[in-house]
């Protein structure tokens, strides 16, 4: 029983990072209705910015965090300008494949800069785990969970209580009508992309600071985990993204504990598949939100 509770707590902690990744993904997908496969790799580029700063200049934790976010934003905007902004309506699949091509490009760029397979990343919080009765909670996990909750709240507030959010929701509802009321759609989409990359950057920083190492494979990992959590949570829902991440984390930790790493991944994909088939809208999304036809 103690194990079960401990595993659930660990799952929530790990899952909060998936939720954060899904948050950025949800913003991009909500605004564009297109899939950005390069999402993880842009975060990975940010992580490499941070690692270089850490290794070559001995930068502190906050500077590294800032570098990760800045790197993610810069490469995110690069992806938006190249793969999304110039694509006409109806070329959603071209955007997706294009973002895949840029994924390959970013991965190779990272390997060129730092050719070894793994590099160290500064730790978030050292020190012993907190003991709560028989349960253990790592302090860095707590920071990660807090970060995820905070950021989700900020995104939700920004979306529903600011002028930027109002414009963004107008674009999501109908880009032409948004244009007609004076929203500069192109600019707003780019800003949303930058914001989503920044969220991804924060997620990436927290995950890597917990793992204390970075590899070029992190890009693919981040894209997959974010995508799975987003789909489980339900497209287009901010709380859904977070919840989807937490559920994924809990499922993973329990199945890892019971059956080992391979079956853990099998379970994660099975839960995703089962959700899609039985409840395509995910936990909180609406089925109507999903449209990635290769024409529209």
């Amino acid at each position: 029983m103690i194990d079960f509770i401990q595993n659930t707590i660990d799952g929530v902690m790990i899952g909060s990072s998936y939720g954060l990744l899904a948050l950025g993904f949800t913003v991009i997908f909500g605004v564009m209705r297109r899939l950005n496969l390069s999402y993880g790799p842009t975060v990975m580029i940010g992580a490499y910015f941070g690692t270089v700063l850490y290794l070559d200049f001995g930068a502190g934790l906050l500077a590294v965090a800032a570098a990760v976010v800045a790197g993610a934003v810069i490469s995110g905007v690069y992806v938006e300008r190249l793969c999304f902004a110039p694509m006409k309506a109806g070329a959603g699949i071209a955007s997706m494949v294009s973002s895949f091509a840029i994924w390959m490009q970013l991965e190779q760029a990272a390997v060129l800069v730092l050719p070894r397979h793994t590099y160290p990343f500064p730790p978030l919080a050292t020190g012993p785990a907190l003991e709560i009765g028989p349960l253990l909670v790592r302090p860095d996990h707590l920071i990660m969970l807090g970060g995820a909750l905070l950021l989700a709240a900020v995104v939700q507030l920004a979306l529903y209580h600011t002028r930027f959010g109002l414009g963004l929701r107008a674009v999501i509802a109908n880009p032409i009508a948004a244009n007609l009321v004076g929203v500069d759609v192109g600019r707003l989409v780019m800003l949303a992309f930058a914001a989503a990359s920044a969220i991804g950057g924060v997620a990436g920083f927290l995950v890597l600071a917990v793992d204390q190492q970075v590899t070029p494979m992190f890009g693919m990992w981040a894209t997959l985990k974010g995508l799975i959590a987003m789909m489980i949570g339900g497209l287009g829902s901010i709380p859904g993204a977070l919840l989807g991440g937490l559920l994924l984390g809990v499922v993973e930790v329990h199945s890892h504990w019971l059956f080992g790493p391979q079956v853990r991944d099998l379970f994660a994909y099975f839960v995703l598949f089962a959700f899609l088939v039985a409840r395509p809208g995910g936990l909180l999304g609406r089925t109507a939100d999903v449209e990635l036809s290769h024409r529209v």
């Binding site: 294009s98 091509a101 970013l106 991944d265």
Partner: protein, 309 residues
């Protein structure tokens, strides 16, 4: 022909089957990230048939195709009502499950004092059919291309047939197609089955070409690549995905000129290409224009023929 060239060409031929498999689904309007699963299933099934059960190659590959088609149909039915991204991610989840199941799959028999068969993450080694039967790599390449030619001929026939029109109609607008009285569900499952069989044939050939397979070969990367080939080469004709494979595997993998920078250049070029040609090099419009020119040339020559008489 030198060995390296034979191996590159063989690879191109084999990968073309997965690319065509993804392309067929694109025609019906579905983006699949999971065709690599059927490639894997075909590889394992055909490999087991020849290496473990002593079946002849043709039967082994046909068996692989049948298993691939059956699995594709059983994936196609539950995913029927999924649209767009949901479908894509469901196929991705399925393919990853298949890959992990192969990582867990151990089934070996003793052949000549040696264990043969799938062995978890270590993969499935000694699929030695072409060595045991003294088949030259060149001849095996010719076999791959013969089968590819047959497949392409099938696609050409499909494009002209009622079935091809139905597939494209469903791809354009499934609702409209169903209003026209087309049993959309049935045709979608049919397309999924054919696409599964195609990928599985490629897998069967691949297993015998390389003599061993590993689960990690069949990861998401292979799936997304197969999809990308159609988009790069063009969605207007079945030659499009082939062109995509040739450009990626052939031109870039074999020309070592850009070593270290290959993806930086290629990735950027693909992104630029898709801005100007969002449906690939050989898109519908270009194919249509070439077709018209071709027909005009034929009718023109018959006209001059008649004139000279």
């Amino acid at each position: 022909m030198d060995d390296y060239l034979v191996s590159v060409l063989s690879n191109i031929g084999v990968i073309s089957f997965v690319a065509l498999s993804a392309y067929l689904l694109l025609l019906t309007g579905e983006i699949s990230f999971g065709q690599q699963a059927f490639f894997a299933i075909g590889a394992y099934a055909a490999g087991m048939a020849t290496a473990m059960w002593g079946w002849p190659l043709a039967l082994g590959i046909a068996w692989g195709a049948a298993v691939g088609a059956a699995c594709a149909v059983s994936l196609g039915i539950p995913t029927l009502r999924l649209r767009g991204l949901q479908f894509s991610i469901a196929t991705l989840a399925f393919a990853e499950m298949v890959r992990i199941l192969f990582e867990l799959f151990r089934y070996q028999v003793d052949i000549d004092g040696e264990p043969v068969g799938p062995n978890g993450t270590d993969g499935f080694r000694s699929i030695r059919y072409i060595f045991d039967h003294n088949i030259e790599t060149f001849d095996f390449m010719m076999l791959i291309y013969t089968m590819l030619a047959v497949t392409l001929a099938g696609f050409m026939l499909l494009e002209r047939s009622r079935l091809g029109v139905i597939f494209r109609m469903i791809g354009e607008d499934a609702t409209l197609a169903s209003l026209q009285g087309i049993a959309v569900a049935r045709y979608k499952v049919l397309a999924a089955g054919i696409a599964g069989a195609l990928a599985a044939v490629g897998g069967g050939l691949y297993a015998h070409l390389t003599t061993y397979v590993e689960p990690r070969t069949f990861d998401v990367m292979l799936g997304v690549h197969s999809l990308a080939y159609g988009l790069i080469g063009g969605l207007g004709t079945a030659l499009g995905p082939l062109l995509g494979v040739v450009i990626d595997v052939g031109l870039l993998e074999s020309v070592r000129l850009f070593a270290g920078y290959r993806m930086i250049i290629f990735g950027g070029l693909v992104a630029l290409l898709l801005i100007f040609r969002p449906r690939g090099l050989l898109d519908e419009r270009l194919v249509n224009r070439i077709g018209r020119l071709f027909r005009n040339a034929i009718s023109g020559s018959t006209r001059t023929g008649r004139g000279s008489r």
